[in-house]
């Protein structure tokens, strides 16, 4: 029972991080219908930037965090401007292939800069964050991840609901042409959504890094794990992404705990195929009606 509860807690914590990284992915997809294969690399870029600032440059943690967020936002912005903007209106395969190319490019760059080793962040979380409920303990990194996760989830919820840019983004996601005719600067919304997505990716990269340490290969493979999450939740639903994230996190930790650790990484994809066969647009996704 204790083992079960411990797995439950771990699963929810990891799942929440998956949910947050999926949120950035969904944001790009909703705004510009681009499926981003380079999401894992954006995640890793954020985590490594933060690592360089804190461990090598000795910048205080909070300043480093804010700097990383700003840098990731700019990175996302530049990526959209340079690579995705020329492809607006081009066929799907070219866009997919471009993001695959981007992921390869970024991964190569990061491997050149930081190498393929595992690094750990300097310890900055206070020991008092460790929670105990009876027999199960939540280590401070998990609590920290949980707090950061919930905080940013709430923040983005409010951003989309009340800020004008958030409303613009939702309107573009809802109907691009209508938004354009009502005076929404659609291109700016695309750029903004890439910026915010990169920022969200950096947050999840940093939290994952606090939990498991950072490694280019590990972090960029998270970008692929986003797919089962978003398919489960529906490609265009942000709440769906979070719920899907938690479900996949639970699924992974339980398979890892009870069945086998090697099966852990494949199970999400098996579930993905099953979900796609039963409900092709995910649990919370919008059913597309297509006309010839």
């Amino acid at each position: 029972m204790e083992f079960f509860l411990q797995l439950l807690v771990n699963g929810v914590c990891i799942g929440l991080i998956y949910g947050i990284s999926a949120m950035g992915f969904v944001m790009i997809f909703k705004a510009s219908s681009v499926i981003n294969f380079a999401h894992g690399e954006l995640l890793a870029a954020g985590a490594f930037f933060f690592f360089t600032l804190t461990a090598w440059a000795g910048v205080p943690v909070y300043a480093a965090f804010l700097l990383t967020l700003a840098a990731s936002f700019i990175l996302g912005f530049i990526v959209e401007r340079l690579f995705l903007r020329p492809l607006i209106g081009e066929p799907l395969i070219e866009v997919i292939m471009l993001t695959i190319g981007l992921s390869s490019l970024f991964k190569g760059l990061m491997l050149l800069l930081w190498g393929g080793n595992l690094y750990t962040f300097p310890d900055f979380l206070p020991e008092s964050l460790s929670l105990r409920f009876g027999a199960i303990t939540i280590p401070p990194v998990y609590t920290g991840a949980l707090v950061i996760g919930i905080f940013f989830l709430a923040l983005f919820g409010l951003f989309f609901k009340y800020s004008s840019q958030g409303i613009f983004m939702r309107s573009v996601a809802d109907n691009q042409t209508a938004a354009l005719s009502l005076g929404v600067h659609v291109k700016r919304v695309f750029a903004l959504s890439w910026g915010i997505a990169a920022l969200v990716a950096a947050i999840s990269g940093i939290t994952l890094g606090i939990m498991n340490g950072i490694n280019v290969h590990e972090l960029s493979s998270i970008g692929l794990k986003v797919f089962p999450v978003v398919i489960l939740g529906g490609l265009d639903s942000i709440t769906g992404a979070v719920i899907g994230g938690i479900l996949i996190g639970l699924l992974e930790t339980f398979t890892g705990g009870y069945l086998s650790t090697s099966l852990k990484d494949v199970v999400p994809f098996i579930v993905l195929v099953i979900v796609l066969l039963i409900k092709p647009y995910g649990l919370f996704g919008l059913v597309e009606i297509e006309r010839v």
Binding site: G101, G116, L276
Partner: protein
Amino acid sequence: MRRLTFHPCGNYKERYEEELKVFSTDFGRLWSAVGIVILFAVVPFISGPYTLYILNMVGIASIAAVGLNILIGFTGQISLGHGAFLGVGAYSAAILATNLNMPCWISIPSAALITALVGMIFGIPSVRLKGLYLTIATLAGQFIIEYLLVHWEDLTRGTMGITLPAASILGIDVAGDRNFFFLIYVSLGLTVWTAVNLIRTKYGRAFIAIRDNDRAAEGMGIPLFRYKLLSFAVSSFYAGFAGGLWAYYMVSVTSEPFNLLLSVEYIAMVIIGGLGSIAGSIYGAVFITLLNEGLRLGTDLLMNMDLFPEVGLNIAPIRELVFGLAIILFILFEPKGIAEVWRIIRSSFRLWPFSY
């Protein structure tokens, strides 16, 4: 003999059969024949083992790339699992050859058939899914197959890999780069011939109709499910064939090469070569294989020169970087690939001095 035909300076085609011709002029036919003669009678005897090795890798990659182009370029179904299908072919050939003692001229086609079946299984989601969702489903297929290749140990011997017996066709040993050159390039010739002709039949036209608009194609009486499955089957047949050849050529099979990166490499070949062009797939295969080899040689050279002894120069990151850059540059500047560049060069010669 009738007179040689030249390119007319306009479109004078009157019947549909003229559209369907493989060679629009006799010069095309002539040069292809000359090319084939040079390929088989001259090239293998003047090139050294290293050149032959590269040529063989290009040949194997071309077979698989032609298959992927039928799926992506002609049917419009994006697959991220082609590398895994290649692995299925390689493992099937290896298992058939070791467990059932099949000679290679049976085991390679059987491996291709098995791969076609597996491909059809992973093509089933294409009934209901398209575009992004199908891409993600094939991505899942890639991971599931990769997992099975490593963990189905009774069949695949896990991480140990399988060593194949030497290939022999009707008592003649196929060993060494030169013999494999003939095996691989005869297979390539056959597969390209089949692919070119497949595209001209009603099946090929149905594929193209599905690519252009699948709902409209269905409205015109093309059974979508059957044709999409057929396309997956043909494409994985090619992948399986290439995988079987690969297994025999490399002598031993492990699961490592058949990862997502290989699938991405094949998509890159198809895009860089030219979507919807059989010749383009071969250009792409040549480009990517040479790029890989060139990068390997380049990094070796840099390491030997010891210019930056403190930098542990490693091929993997540079390869990923250049690879990604090549894909991005091609998509941004020449989305139709090398086939289009080649067409422009040719037509500017033909239209000289009025080329545009």
